[in-house]
């Protein structure tokens, strides 16, 4: 009984804490500019099924892709086991799923096989990071917390899987001893071997029960703790990947969305009889007035979707390892753009939590992301193609460029020249319209 009460309290605390974190994340995402996401629902479901559920973009790198699918399948399926653990924990039952009979044997058997798959994949992933030192995990933005975060996740998953198998092994030994509390249930293709290998079969029932219970508690406490670690980690992508892909951009990659506000301004400039549009009213965000800006100075000026992108980023670096700017040693790393956006958003969120409202702290997105990074992008969209969860770093880069150019008049000198040429000659070079058809003079040449 004590155990059940303890378990119930633990479960409630874990869920309450997680709910609070989720609320914070949702609040933070909503700090962004409202952006209606247009219909095309059927297409969105299809994309989500393919990219998020089906992991279609992961296999672009076959080794990582297949390993990831293993971990992913293991995660999804072992959640069924967690359901059983929760019911057992709350009602003091043991292996409630056993009522399913042979199907239960099949379930437990496949969980075990998957657990080994996950273990293996995690070991390979650790080796890849620690021993092989793949370049995309060694970029400057990966120093410190990001690489630690990745390692923590992998070690925790190994620990959880090991606990799961240990629990099963002890359970099986007890079942074989005919212990009344451990009736025969389940099939144990992996832990049967473990039980024999680690000499569990020779232990006393009391010691076995101690091992079984300890592993059980370790497993479930670990899972609840991990659940609450998610919102602070890149591992949060297991939650956000699905909605993020669903809401993702369906337009052609290179299509830049229109700014209707500017259309109004330009129309009135061209035709004096058209009145200039009313300036958009300031938005109130977290108790602060946000002026409507051209482009993005801070997270408030980005679309909520860009902020969701930032929380969905898995820091895998697939974008960066395809980015032509990054490949040629330039400062730009699309992954860093996403991480900086998330870090800034977290910073803003913390300040709001502390003060109850937002007060300008003198920093912005531009404090973290330099002009040199912004101006290096060729808008080639290799990053958006590579991203396994359809994140769009180019959208953020472009909004920040807009702020630089239209609000601060700060650009690269050569670009000022190009702007002037387009404005005066209708071409990025200094040739007037009267020269536009000169090529036609000798078409055969």
């Amino acid at each position: 009984m004590m155990g059940q009460i303890l378990f119930a309290l633990l479960l409630i605390a874990a869920i309450a804490l997680f709910t609070r974190s989720i609320r914070r994340v949702v609040r933070n995402i909503r700090l962004g500019r409202p952006e209606p996401i247009n219909g095309r629902r059927a297409e969105r479901w299809r994309t989500m099924a393919l990219v998020a559920l089906g992991q279609s973009k992961m296999v672009a790198r076959p080794v990582a892709g297949i390993m990831h699918i293993l971990i992913y399948a293991g995660f999804v399926i072992i959640n069924i086991e967690v359901l059983e653990i929760i019911i057992d924990g709350l009602f003091g039952t043991h292996r409630i799923g056993a009522v399913l009979g042979p199907f239960y044997d099949f379930l437990i058997g496949s969980f075990e096989v998957l657990a080994v798959g996950v273990l293996l994949a995690c070991v390979v992933f650790i080796a890849r990071r620690a021993v092989l030192q793949l370049p995309r995990f060694r970029k400057p933005e990966m120093k410190g917390w990001p690489s630690k975060d990745a390692m923590i996740i992998l070690v925790v998953e190994i620990a959880l899987m090991s606990a799961f198998l240990t629990m099963n092994a002890a359970d099986l030994a007890l079942q074989e001893l005919g212990d009344a509390h451990y009736p025969p249930a389940g099939s144990y293709p992996v832990s049967a071997g473990l039980a024999a290998a680690f000499g569990l079969t020779g232990l006393q029932p009391a010691s076995l029960a101690l091992i079984e219970r300890s592993a059980w508690w370790f497993h479930i406490i670990g899972i609840l703790a991990f659940l609450n670690y998610l919102p602070y980690s890149k591992h949060f992508h297991i939650v956000l990947a699905f909605p993020n892909v669903w809401y993702g951009k369906l337009e052609p990659r290179t299509q830049v969305a229109n700014m209707p506000r500017i259309t109004g301004e330009v129309r009135s400039m061209i035709d004096p009889s058209v009145p200039p549009p009313e300036p958009a009213p300031a938005r109130t965000v977290a108790g602060a007035e946000m002026p409507e800006r051209f482009g993005a100075k801070d997270v408030f000026d980005l679309s909520w979707k860009s902020l969701m992108d930032a929380y969905s980023c898995t820091e895998c670096g697939r974008c960066t390892s395809e980015c032509p700017a990054n490949l040629t040693g330039k400062l730009l790393s699309p992954r860093k753009i996403m991480m900086d956006t998330r870090d800034r958003l977290e910073e803003v969120g913390k300040a709001i939590d502390a003060k109850g409202k937002w007060e300008d702290d003198g920093n912005s997105l531009h404090t973290r992301i330099s002009e040199e990074e912004l101006w290096a992008c060729t808008t080639c969209n290799a990053c958006t193609q590579a991203c396994p969860v359809n994140i769009d770093p180019v959208g953020i880069i472009l909004e920040m460029r807009r702020y630089k150019v239209m609000e601060e008049s700060s650009t690269r000198p050569a670009l000022t020249g190009m702007f002037n040429n387009v404005e005066n000659n209708g071409a990025p070079w200094a040739f007037g319209p009267d020269k536009r058809l000169d090529w036609a003079n000798d078409v055969n040449g």
Binding site: A60, P252, R253, T254, Q255, V256, A257, N258, M259, I262, T263, V266, M269, I270, F294, G295, P324, A325, L327, T328, G329, K330, L331, E372, W375, A376, T378, T379, C380, N381, A382, Q385, L398, R402, Y403, K404, M406, T411, R412, A414, L415, G417, M418, F419, V422, E423, G426, A427, P428, W429, F431, P433, D434, K435, R436, L437, W439, V443, N444, G445
Partner: protein, 262 residues
């Protein structure tokens, strides 16, 4: 050879006739010495296929693509609204262009500003002409030559067109060798996003050098391009490696025009 006439939309409008397609020449195609050769090659193809086409001539102005991508949305819309007015004024329905940046802007970005047209990249148009039998190509001088194709980001990854340029190239009876990074994984030439008009940011090398090195690694006789900016970047890259004597960078329109002796 008789001089081909380049009719303008204004001339068509004066006679009350409608051309089959508007050829959007683009700034590079109009002013850049190298890109003008692509423009002329494409016009020779249009002429050979007896396509009734027109250009805007002096009424054409920059689509605004580099301005928009450099963050100057005002300037982009100034250009775009001006172009939309002209295009709609002539009742333009179909546009073909040899520049993937113009293609992307006209096709994807003008509708939000009131300009909706059927827009084709010239490789798509040439491919259709070949399929309809309006022009014929018999390999010509490129038979058996090694040709590699560099996917322009704004055509391929941006708009999903990978096949039209390849189908056209196959008509040359050449050996089409794929680059390691091709189709959706293609590597940028380094010119997009207004980079063409500025110094590159500091790095260890230039993007066009990286790309040209990869293309030269395929040991091609010809590097085929489908974008005037890619063409310039790759031509510079080939020169950087002192290979301009052995390897030619040519637009698909130039290859077809040359193979057909146009």
């Amino acid at each position: 050879m008789e001089q081909i006439r380049i009719p303008t939309m204004a001339e068509f409008a004066a006679t009350g006739e409608v051309p089959e397609v508007l050829f959007w020449v683009g700034c590079a195609g109009s002013f850049d010495d190298r890109a003008r050769k692509i423009t002329k090659a494409f016009v020779r193809i249009l002429n050979a296929a007896k396509v009734k086409f027109a250009v805007l001539g002096q009424e054409e102005t920059c689509t605004g693509d580099p301005a928009r991508r450099a963050g100057n949305e005002f300037l982009f819309q100034m250009q775009a609204l001006q172009n939309v007015t002209v295009l709609n004024g002539y009742g333009v329905k179909r546009i073909v262009t040899a520049c993937p940046h113009c293609f992307n802007t006209l096709k994807n970005e003008y509708p939000a500003l009131g300009g909706s047209y059927e827009v084709l990249h010239h490789t798509q148009f040439i491919n259709a002409l070949l399929k309809e039998g309006r022009i014929k190509v018999e390999g010509g001088g490129f038979q058996g030559k090694r040709i590699t194709f560099h996917d322009p980001c704004y055509l391929g990854r941006g708009n999903g067109e990978y096949e039209a340029p390849r189908e056209v190239l196959l008509k040359l009876d050449a050996a089409l060798v794929e680059l390691k990074r091709s189709r959706q994984n293609g590597l940028c030439c380094g010119a997009g996003g207004a980079q063409m008009f500025k110094e590159a940011e500091p790095g260890t090398r230039e993007v066009n050098i990286e790309r040209s090195e990869e293309a030269l690694g395929a040991k091609p006789d010809v590097i085929a391009a489908g974008c005037p900016f890619c063409n310039t970047m790759l031509t510079d890259g080939v020169k950087h490696f002192n290979k301009e004597g052995e390897v030619k960078v040519k637009d698909i329109a130039e290859l077809i025009a040359e193979a057909s002796d146009l």
